[in-house]
Amino acid sequence: MALIDLANPTRFAAFVERVLPWLIAATVTAFALGLWGTYLAPDDYQQGATVKIMFIHVPNAWLSMFVWGVMSAAALGTLVWRHPLADVAAKCAAPIGAAFTFLALVTGSLWGRPMWGTYWVWDARLTSVLVLFIMYLALIALWRTVDDPTRAGRAAAVLTLVGAINLPIIKFSVDWWNTLHQPASVFRIGGPTIDLSMLMPLAVMAIAFTLLFIALHLAAMRNEILRRRVRTLMLTQAERAA
């Protein structure tokens, strides 16, 4: 099957049916390896066992931005190339991205309370991620407000691209402003500052969460294709009845 064939919703749904079992197996395997690595990882010399929250907090924080990046690419697909599956991809990514962002915020708070002495502080990193979460909710609300998927897709694409301005703000907030949140310790010039014994399980957990996102996203896109097919058939039925 050529890649261009996947632009066809029917063929895309068939493709998802074929790859989903393999993706689920890969996701479960990656989580099993990642959690085993998390269990074996040593305690931090300062934070003790609390550092184990990092193995779920950091992948969710990465994915909160990555998913918005995926939605931004899909938004370009909607506005520029009018790709038939672009708005389907954007719509289905939003709830998953919101869930990852929610987890990044909650696990960050649960990590912050014993380490910082507070669940929340209005510093640049935490506030910009909260703004990202609110933007996810706004997008979901927009999709639910407009009944016509094509019109909703265009409006959501514009909002998504405007919201993408927040991504570099989140990434560099710890460098631009004085924040309670620590600066980057993995993706930084000069290499990671985390010991390999913690970096490896963190990387495996990041892969596991990314595979989870891909599996959920593809499954949700297949569902959306079916939903639009049902909508079309119901409209056809209404036309015949009229």
Partner: protein, 63 residues
């Protein structure tokens, strides 16, 4: 495994993450079942895609 004095925060974080991921999986699975059920019901009533009768493939899903 000794999680130290902050075990509640660590276990809580993992429980919440598990619950949210389980919620996503249930949402996607239930939605798939609902759409398949709706399609089956429409087909049972004789409502099928006109395109499916004449053309097996469609470039763009009608909005």
């Amino acid at each position: 495994m000794d999680l130290g004095p902050h075990a509640g925060f660590i276990v809580g974080a993992y429980i919440i993450a598990t619950a949210v991921i389980a919620g996503l999986v249930v949402w996607v699975t239930a939605d798939y079942a609902a759409q398949k059920r709706a399609l089956t019901e429409l087909e049972r009533r004789g409502i099928t895609r006109r395109s499916a009768e004449s053309r097996p493939l469609q470039i763009k899903e009608p909005a």
